[in-house]
């Protein structure tokens, strides 16, 4: 067995096919025996993967209907996410194990806590043939940082100073931040942080010049919002041998059951979000696979710490003891998840939720806490909405659980437009939903003063200044171990006194036909292994 064989075998794992390998072997000067037989390792790897090139991959997603759009840097509905993933690459991405990997960047690092260096790979082309330069990267960062465009990633770019980006050469730029911010690297690796060409749709995410142009594995061929989009293979894609499909067709289905029927009938190859009740139906089929991703997504119940009765920390602690977490996961999520301990970001290396004592259902203890706070026989409204799986179910079971603690919870199930209407972020007690993030970016979104979605009003908590100080210290600490210690202190504060009841982390339950291969278990926010990493690491077998 040669080292060349090992190298080729790795190439297979990365997705090369036999013809590619023969070419590659020739290029590397490896002698291939007559008949094109490769080394044993490579043959084994090829047999294992059985990649077939070509074909049209058909995906069914839930969409927002006529308001669907395609943009390399913004999303609202899942349909928008699936479409973004076809056409754009980022500087870096978050892999299946929730580690940051480089993508368009060959270098992306914090030189200091307030200074970031970005260098891109050479020779990458956009869909229109233009070569990617650092100017495109600078333009992309500025576009996201433009507040009035309202792009999804804007909130994570608070520390970016659009005026202080120094172009060092055609492939390199140095960013001078407004303040120390080590979280920016992860922000660049978010899937919606696509790199777009200079001049790309400057006024809106609903279209504009160049708005379909990216560097990604597929080019947009046609798009009818609310119905369907067709994407064709980018023949010039920079990753060797990828993508495998000739075409990807993404079809909107407003109804989840219709998606399942289409999958059962072989009219589509994969779908997102199988309804719990239909999982057994899909499982019974030999030609279909249920694909479960254990993510860090959560649907908390949020107590506003500055509003009665939650101003008293004993009430907040009592409420956290009134959640029967195993029951909420078993019934509320049909078991598709795992219990949590009031701390978010389970995949952050500094996650401490498992180190603190697991909170258990304890109505007795809750009762005595409420008594001590002089808040017995409480009645309170809990606002929830079917905006995401688990929000209504969790709230309903919690209301049931709370009765044993002498608390009457009236669950108000309202449409998403009302929960997220004018009263949003003003409710006293409400449900919400979040995807998977690391701790510091999540805190910036949901816990800090001025955070876009500060649903618990954590900044009104008397001891908040300490939390804010710890945050500033953490984002300025480049050393991972030291930073982890600071983050741990922050989590302790939220664990003891915070306003979130985080009862579980959810799984994503998708399904695909066994004709398709290449999906890997993924911890991220996105369905179907980030849609097969933008439909480039999956293939027909």
């Amino acid at each position: 067995m040669t080292s060349a064989d090992e190298a080729l075998s790795r190439e297979v794992e990365r997705g090369m096919t036999r013809p590619d390998l023969l070419r590659r072997a020739a290029a590397l000067g490896i002698v291939v025996a007559a008949g094109g037989s490769l080394g044993p390792l490579t043959e084994a790897a090829l047999a294992r993967t059985q990649i077939r090139r070509g074909g049209t991959f058909r995906l069914a997603v839930s969409g927002a209907g006529a308001s669907d759009f395609i943009d390399g840097q913004h999303i609202v509905a899942k349909s928008d996410i699936a479409r973004l993933m076809t056409g754009w690459d980022r500087l870096a991405y978050i892999d299946e194990k929730f580690r940051i990997q480089l993508e368009l960047a060959s270098e992306l690092r914090a030189e200091k806590a307030n200074q970031i260096l970005i260098r891109i790979r050479p020779g990458i082309e956009f869909h229109n043939g233009k070569t990617l330069t650092i100017d495109d990267v600078i333009y992309s960062i500025r576009r996201t940082a433009t507040k009035k465009l309202g792009l999804f990633g804007n909130g994570a770019f608070q520390s970016v100073d659009p005026k202080r980006m120094k172009k060092l050469d055609n492939r390199t730029v140095r960013l001078f931040l407004k303040r120390a911010d080590v979280t920016l690297i992860e922000a660049f690796a978010q899937y919606f942080q696509g790199i777009v060409p200079v001049g790309y749709a400057p006024k809106s995410f609903r279209g504009g010049p160049l708005h379909t142009i990216g560097t990604g594995p597929f080019k947009l061929q046609s798009f009818t919002p609310g119905r369907q989009s067709v994407h064709v293979k980018n023949e010039n894609y920079w990753r060797n041998g990828q993508p495998y499909f000739d075409q990807v067709v993404i079809t909107n289905f407003p109804d989840d059951s219709a998606k399942v029927n289409a999958l059962l009938g072989g009219q589509i190859d994969a779908m997102t979000d199988v309804p719990f009740a239909q999982v057994p139906v899909v499982r019974r089929r030999n030609n279909l696979k249920i694909f479960i991703s254990q993510t860090g997504a959560w649907t908390p119940l949020c107590m506003a710490v500055d509003q009665e009765p939650f101003t008293d920390v004993r009430v907040r602690r009592a409420f956290r003891l009134l959640a029967n977490r195993p029951q909420m996961v078993a019934q509320g999520l049909s078991g598709a998840g795992r219990i949590a301990n009031d701390i978010y970001s389970p995949f952050d290396p500094a996650y401490a939720g498992d180190d603190f004592p697991q909170r258990k259902y304890d109505p007795e203890q809750a009762r005595s806490l409420l008594k001590a706070a002089n808040k017995e026989n409480l009645t309170i409204d809990l606002i929830t909405s079917p905006a995401d799986t688990g929000m209504v179910e969790g709230a309903t079971i919690f209301a049931e659980n709370a009765r044993a603690g002498g608390v009457r919870v009236n669950v108000k199930n309202v449409p998403g437009g009302e929960l997220y209407g004018p009263q949003y972020l003003k409710w006293t007690f409400s449900a919400d939903y979040w995807g998977t993030r690391s701790y510091l970016p999540q805190a910036a979104f949901g816990s800090l003063a001025g955070a876009a979605f500060n649903e618990t009003h954590w900044d009104k908590y008397p001891n908040y200044p300490r939390y804010a100080r710890l945050y500033r210290q953490a984002v300025a600490t480049v050393d991972d171990r030291k930073r982890a210690a600071v983050i741990r202190d922050m989590q302790r504060m939220e664990y003891d006194d915070g306003g979130h009841i985080i009862w579980g982390f959810k799984n994503l339950t998708d399904a695909y036909s066994t004709k398709v291969g290449g999906f890997k278990p993924d911890r991220g926010t996105l369905n179907l292994n980030k849609y097969g990493n933008g439909f480039r690491t999956i293939y027909f077998v």
Binding site: R58, A64, G65, A66, S67, V76, A77, K147, K148, G150, F152, G155, R206, S222, T224, P225, G226, R227, Q228, T251, F253, P254, D255, S257, A258, N261, A262, L264, G265, G266, Q267, I268, V281, V414, P415, G416, G417, E418, Y420, G421, Y424, A452, F453
Partner: protein
């Protein structure tokens, strides 16, 4: 006033009454959409909307104007053929719905072309063979089917013919945008069958009831006594007279189909106005919801009116009594 007399007068009166009904309906639709919680701006921008972008979009969409002004703008536009602009898609509603209206009309048309004659034949034959095994079987079957809502029928057909028992037919309509569903005959079978099953039982039962009455009437007895064959008695003498109430039922059912397609299109993902309505409600796209509700109401009124007129035209007694007034 000759215009108010006779059959033309009847038609004019019915037209005016229909318009009045539509006006009332339009007020109700508008009031209902106003009362719905949540707003389009929030729904378009998603949870990540900032207060500034929300305010700007509300202004742009005219959501800040007084309700009466919004109503007048809407109904005025409607009367001049301007259905407004979809809040979600940012294109004219007429453009958004154009194809979809056609697709839904096509589905309704083939369902009607199959279900009305089928209902009439089943009803007539059941009456002719009253109290036979055929009649009893048909009675039980139609009663059972009439009791089932369309989504149950639709999903049962999917389970039977598409997913679980047999895998013969596609259970979902996946069409390319811009390509009419008539290019996918196989995909159309189950949605059409669902609509047919929803309509046939009513038509058949009414047809049977009126035929039973007619077959016992004096003039049918007379025809029999003249020695005409039973087949001729049934199809030449009895059926034409039994059609009047059936017209009513068929028209009501067609009107009902206009509502039923909302459910059927959702079950089968059929790209018509029903699916558009569901999506529009989900995204609080009020101009689309309002336009579709009013269109469906208009269709209801129109079909009822046509049924009344057709009934008069096929019933000599009604025809002469109106003409004499």
């Amino acid at each position: 006033m000759a215009l108010w007399r006779g059959i033309p007068g009847f038609i004019v009166r019915r037209l005016l009454l229909g318009l009045l009904t539509l006006f009332v309906v339009s007020v109700i639709i508008f009031a209902a959409t106003q009362a719905l919680p949540g707003d389009a701006a929030r729904s378009i921008l998603g949870r990540g909307a900032t207060p500034e972008s929300l305010a700007a979009l509300r202004e742009q969409l005219g959501l800040n104007e007084p309700a009466l002004q919004q109503y007048l703008d809407w109904i005025g536009g409607f009367l001049t053929g301007d259905l407004g602009t979809s809040l979600a898609a940012n294109i004219p509603v007429s453009e958004l719905l154009g194809d979809r209206l056609l697709y839904s009309a096509f589905l309704m048309l083939i369902a009607a072309l199959i279900s009305v004659p089928l209902g009439i034949v089943i009803g007539a034959v059941s009456a002719r063979r009253r109290d036979t095994a055929f009649d009893h079987t048909m009675s039980m079957t139609t009663l059972g089917l009439a009791a089932l809502p369309e989504f149950v029928v639709g999903l049962t057909l999917v389970v039977l013919f598409s997913t679980t028992v047999f895998q013969w037919l596609p259970g979902v309509v996946v069409t390319e945008p811009g390509v009419g569903p008539w290019n996918y005959p196989k995909e159309l079978i189950l949605p059409t069958a669902t609509l047919v099953i929803a309509v046939v039982p009513y038509t058949a039962r009414i047809m049977r009831a009126s035929m039973v009455e007619i077959l016992e009437s004096d003039y049918v007895e007379m025809a029999r006594l003249k020695g005409l064959s039973e087949r001729l008695v049934l199809w030449r003498h009895a059926v034409p007279n039994g059609l009047a109430p059936t017209f009513q039922v068929a028209a009501l059912n067609l009107a009902y189909l206009a509502g039923g397609i909302v459910v059927v299109e959702t079950v089968f993902n059929y790209p018509g106005i029903g699916l558009a309505l569901v999506e529009a409600v989900q995204s609080r796209d009020m101009p689309v919801v309002q336009a579709l509700a009013l269109l469906i109401a208009g269709l209801y009124v129109a079909l009822n009116m046509l049924a009344d007129i057709a009934t008069i035209l096929v019933s000599p007694r009604l025809r002469t009594s109106l003409a004499a007034r």
